[in-house]
């Protein structure tokens, strides 16, 4: 494996935006240094030649787990909606999702 490029402040700002996190300038500086240190520690992993090794996503993998196709009780709608920040007509209510209204 080729060594990945070092983490920059712009990288951190970019992934923060992807993850819908807004960081202050101080947080950006702090996190860039801390995350670069963790990635540097992981350089031993990135540097290994593992081209002939299969990846493991799950140590105790089970596959094709299906339940019987039958009607069964589900969560109570009112109880679920009671936990929501905003509700209208038995639905989750959110602020507008598109651009300015005409």
């Amino acid at each position: 494996m080729t060594k990945p490029a070092p983490l920059t402040r712009d990288d951190v700002a970019h992934v923060a935006a992807l993850a819908r996190l807004e960081l202050t300038d101080e947080e950006l500086d702090l996190f860039t240094g801390q995350l670069a240190e963790v990635l540097d520690h992981a350089a031993d992993v990135a540097a290994l030649d593992l081209s002939d090794v299969a990846p493991t996503a799950h140590a105790m993998a089970v596959t094709n787990v299906l339940r019987p196709d039958e009607v069964r009780p589900v969560l109570d709608r009112d109880e679920v909606l009671a936990a929501a920040p905003s509700v209208e007509d038995h639905r989750f209510r959110v602020p507008r999702i598109l651009g300015e209204a005409p």
Partner: protein
Amino acid sequence: MTAPRPTIGLANAVRSGGRSALEVVEEHLAAIEAGDGAIHAFNLVTADLARHQAGAVDRMVADGEDPGPLAGVPVALKDNLCTRGVPTTCSSRILAGWKPPYDATVVERLRAAGAVVVGKTNMDEFAMGSSTETSATGPTRNPHDTTRVPGGSSGGSAAAVAAGFVPLALGSDTGGSIRQPAALCGVVGLKPTYGTVSRYGLVAFASSLDQIGPFAATVADAALLFDVIGGHDPADSTSLNRPTPRVVSVLDDGVAGITVGVLTEFLDGAAPDVAARVHQAAEALAAAGARVEEVSVPEVTLGLSAYYLIAPGEASSNLARYDGVRYGLRVDSEDTATMNTATRSSGFGAEVKRRIMLGTYVLSAGYMDAYYNQALKVRTRIIEGFATAYRRYDVLLGPTTPTTAFPLGEKTADPLQMYLSDVCTIPTNLAGHPAISVPFGTGYDGLPVGVQLLGPALSEGTVMKVAAVVEAAAPTIGVPVLSGEARS
């Protein structure tokens, strides 16, 4: 020799009518009331619900029914286990006050066994941490020395058992979050085989690694709790649909003929006082009839790096659900995307943000092959390394943690140093195997040391019968400063 079973004795006293469950729970609630101000093991004490449950247990006994193997036993739950109608916060502002609409499977199984839930314990936010200091509700303190951390992320559950507030507690272990705090607080903690305990109702951190497990004062009590919570659950698609090891019945079988490998890589990184206790435990096992040798499993040294690529990757995906729409905090804004960002930026603490960003980064285009996919291959190598060792050894022995409990605040500014405290526990999670931490005397500073026994998948019976022998040989660790008068 019989392994000590204080909780089994307590449950049997309640089952036979010798003790009232209500009286037992009142004693423990009083101990929490008196002592938890100094410890902060609990985010929430559910005193009225506990009294209600205890009353129901007493009525069953009066009616001639058997409430179950945990009759009247007070149990504390880590605050990432869903309890219907009872706040479940993960020690995060983003879930403050959230009341789940359902119970975790383990909570249902505890109730069906007659246990009495007394409250929700403090933890690192979303189980991300090794000291309980990332909690939005403030840190938990170690009952053996309140200037020290209890470990984490299940620090509240470990401290609650160590302080005598409860005989049993549940935690979750993604990279050591049961075993590490158990070691630092001087109690027993078991991380079971992945898939043996249902994760239904466990708030997800890293789904391929998370596993619920017991805390107790003794190996036998931890075994009892494991036997109650384990077993297939159709509600968790990763739950193993095969017989779960039953542990209590084999605990007194001894170690004659058992082969034990002392894991040199774990010893290499341990402080001298911790390493000395591991050698002492190894000698005790040899004296009890086990064949004990040193063994090298070089692959485990890659565990920490692989874990801090895999677990944040999974976490960044799992925590995408906290968007201010369906439950938890919402910070209102004029449009939904801004609301998502404002909610998450305000609701998550610094460590959770770090892990989300690290995970997002290692999964992003251009870096996924170098980091995340490479870590998945390292995971394969670690599993192969363990498999080679387990062809020769029934169990492996090592320290649970490199050091005893460190001072509060010592590692909070340096995430990598904090991560390194999990170096001996992480490989087990990557392999999906069981491992247990057993208290074994103290370090130079007088604080508890934990030794760890590891085994291959579904070897809980073997691991815990060896643990019972280690426990019987363990030097005492002294009484916590706040040991509860209610210890039954």
